[in-house]
């Protein structure tokens, strides 16, 4: 009963619309806060990810990787991505420590040399392994790193959705001037995001499909598809083997862990 009470209280600002509706910024932030609250609190998770890159002529190439994520209380997430395919980059790994307030830290592990290389944190807008996803798209959006605005409500594929806009605070390094997100009203899942480039033109659209509920609490999509409207290229992410709460520790997502990959 206690937890239900807390839940009700935290959604209360959203339902108490009269005041918040009048201030789209406050309402936008309230929605984003609820999305953040619902998708977090999992502790840690592991998943397998297959990435299919398609160019404008329809030629495909594949990457496979294993992802581990750990929530760090009062800071950002730690995530480790270890490549399985293609074979020439097997065991290459990317470790990211996102921070709520300061610059993120990122290290690349090169297994052939057993070398850990710190990489510049300014690569946010750069493509992640040749895909249509940039580092900032995959590195989990920190609530504090955007400002928000409520734009309205729309029905998207039969779902009643809030439409909000988020504007990155880090104008220097982000590749976007703004993003527009469709979030369903019942479970606060993101179904679609439109990304606008620095000049304000529509650059990419991300669509989520096949949401499944894990541990009776966490919704995760099975498929994410990013289409680049300016190049005609697209990337599909296929998620599988989601596992929550395995008890990962900070050391499992540290530079020490990189040296243990092999």
């Amino acid at each position: 009963m206690m937890s239900l009470a807390i839940l009700t209280l935290s959604i209360l600002p959203l339902l108490n619309t009269d005041a918040t509706y009048r201030d789209p910024n406050q309402f936008g932030l309230a929605i984003a806060t609820e999305v953040d609250r619902r998708s977090h609190g999992f502790g840690d998770l592991t998943a397998d990810l297959t990435m299919i890159l398609r160019n404008s002529r329809g030629q495909e190439s594949r990457r496979r990787m294993r992802i581990q994520t750990l929530e760090v209380p009062d800071d950002g997430d730690r995530s480790l991505c270890v490549f399985i395919e293609p074979a020439d980059i097997k065991d290459t790994a990317l470790l990211t420590h996102t921070h709520r307030k300061t610059e993120d830290d990122q290290w690349l592990y090169l297994p052939a040399l057993k070398r850990i290389k710190r990489i510049s944190a300014a690569n946010k807008s750069s493509s992640f392994v040749g895909s249509e996803f940039s580092y900032e798209d995959i590195a989990g959006q920190q609530l504090e790193k955007y400002t928000y605005r409520f734009l309205g409500q729309e029905v998207l594929d039969g779902n009643d959705c809030y439409v909000i806009e988020r504007v990155p605070l880090d104008k220097r390094n982000s590749g976007y001037s703004r993003q527009k997100a469709w979030i369903d009203r019942s479970e606060y899942r993101i179904w679609k995001v439109e990304y606008f480039d620095r000049r304000g033109a529509l650059l990419k659209t991300l669509c989520m499909r096949g949401y499944r509920l894990y541990n009776q609490r966490f919704w995760r999509p099975q498929i994410m598809e990013m289409v680049n409207h300016q190049t005609g290229k697209s990337t599909v992410l296929i998620w599988s083997e989601y596992r929550f709460g395995l008890g990962l520790k900070e050391d499992d997502l540290s530079t020490n862990a990189l040296l243990r990959i092999k």
Partner: protein
């Protein structure tokens, strides 16, 4: 004061041992392929090198072809233990010394929350800079493989690690020393006299069986990574001296001194900038001296509106011994360009220029690589030794500009 010098001759690797080793690799591949829970990966590569000028020394060729294989087998027994094997073999058409076999890794990792232990033949890399790897000391350089010095021989050791919140401590005991590999008499990229692996002098009376130790502390603090170590053991870098071998040929012998070395590496990241420094202080049979290398790297992301990244690197290498050192990088300035278009084939291009600031010698390096399909990778490398000064340690390589093409199948 005189120091005791002991000489130990090496038993030359016989052709038979090489074939036997290759057989073991093939056999282990076959076995690993059939066992479940054992991961097999690696590559097999064909390589061709073409030298631009006529050779300076007798017996050398204009080109060579070779094949290399590097299989890796990995098995996880549980969350707390695993086994890694990495073998390496190369067969070269021109240089019998480049035809070689090495156990890069064969180690068992045991892990608890409070400590880790790795036992066997391992590879450990320390360092942050791009051109000169000054602090990297654990593994011997497999110089016959590649003159950039990044290929390493497997090192027998017991490594004990404490991964604490306040930093990481590594304690490594190394009971056996590996000699540096060098091109043979018929190989290119060598000084006027070739290095005879059978003419070796160790300062330590125990020779290659001397116990080497290193203790290192490392930590990430915000945007900064630092590492500090103290090493006591046989220096990985030999002093080469002209002599004659058993057959009366004029060759270079290797003298390996015992040293105590302090090493520091640090890097700091801020926005598009990375700052790096490596420094050592080495004291041994020869005078104690320090050396340092460091610089910065600036990354331009999404170059000119494209998705390409361009990295600009400037580094400087300094050695207190100046021209009395045998390392070619004693007062050299290095410029590098790293270009990656971020395409599906993971193409990259690296161009570097190393300029000696006290004489005219410079080296131009271009490396490029891209994936073909999902299993193949093609790499091209170009090295040019330009205006080499007769006083520079690279003088012997003045006619050895070369192009190297490698096509690898990765599995």
């Amino acid at each position: 004061m005189t120091r005791h010098l002991s000489s130990k001759a090496l038993i030359p690797k016989s052709q038979l041992a090489r074939r036997g080793g290759l057989f073991v690799i093939v056999l282990s591949l076959a076995i690993a392929g059939r066992l479940t829970g054992w991961e097999l990966s690696g590559y097999i590569a064909g390589e061709g090198r073409l030298f631009m000028q006529d050779p300076l020394y007798d017996g050398q060729d204009r080109h060579n072809a070779s094949m290399a294989v590097q299989p890796q087998i990995y098995h996880r027994f549980s969350d707390s233990s695993s086994l890694t094997f990495t073998g390496f073999a190369r067969a070269d058409s021109a240089d019998p010394h480049r035809t070689h076999l090495d156990l890069r890794e064969l180690n068992y990792l045991y892990r608890q929350d409070e400590f880790e232990m790795r036992l066997g033949i391992c590879k450990v890399f320390w360092g942050v800079t791009e051109f000169v790897h000054l602090v990297d000391i654990v593994n011997q350089t497999d110089l016959v493989e590649d003159i950039d010095g990044e290929e390493k021989l497997g090192q027998p050791m017991i490594q004990f690690t404490l991964p604490a919140r306040w930093g990481r401590v590594d304690l490594i005991w190394m009971p056996y020393f590996r000699q540096r590999t060098f091109p043979g008499r018929s190989g290119r990229l060598r000084p006027a006299l070739y290095v005879d692996p059978d003419v070796v002098i160790y300062e330590s009376p125990e020779g290659r069986n001397r116990w080497d130790f290193v203790a290192r502390y490392s930590r990430s603090l915000g945007s900064c990574d630092i590492g500090l170590y103290v090493f006591n053991g046989t220096d990985r870098q030999p002093l080469l001296f002209p002599t004659t071998n058993r057959n009366g040929q004029a060759v270079l012998g290797s003298f390996y001194q015992e040293i105590t070395q302090l090493g520091l590496d640090a890097q700091y990241s801020s926005g598009n900038w990375l700052w790096k420094i490596e420094a050592i202080y080495k004291d041994g049979y020869f005078e104690g001296h320090s050396a340092a290398t460091g610089g910065l790297e600036y990354t331009c992301v999404n170059l000119a509106g494209t998705r390409a990244d361009l990295g600009l690197i400037v580094e400087y290498a300094y050695d207190e011994l100046g021209d009395r050192t045998q390392t070619p990088y004693n007062h050299d300035l290095m410029f590098g360009l790293r270009f990656s278009p971020n395409d599906a084939a993971s193409t990259y291009l690296l161009a570097g220029l190393i300029q000696d600031v006290k004489d005219t010698s410079r080296i131009l390096i271009v490396e490029a690589s891209r994936r073909l399909g999902s299993h193949w990778r093609m790499s091209l490398e170009l090295w040019a030794f330009l205006d080499t000064d007769p006083g520079d340690s690279l003088y012997g390589l003045r006619n050895d500009d070369f192009a190297r093409l490698e096509i690898a199948y990765c599995f």
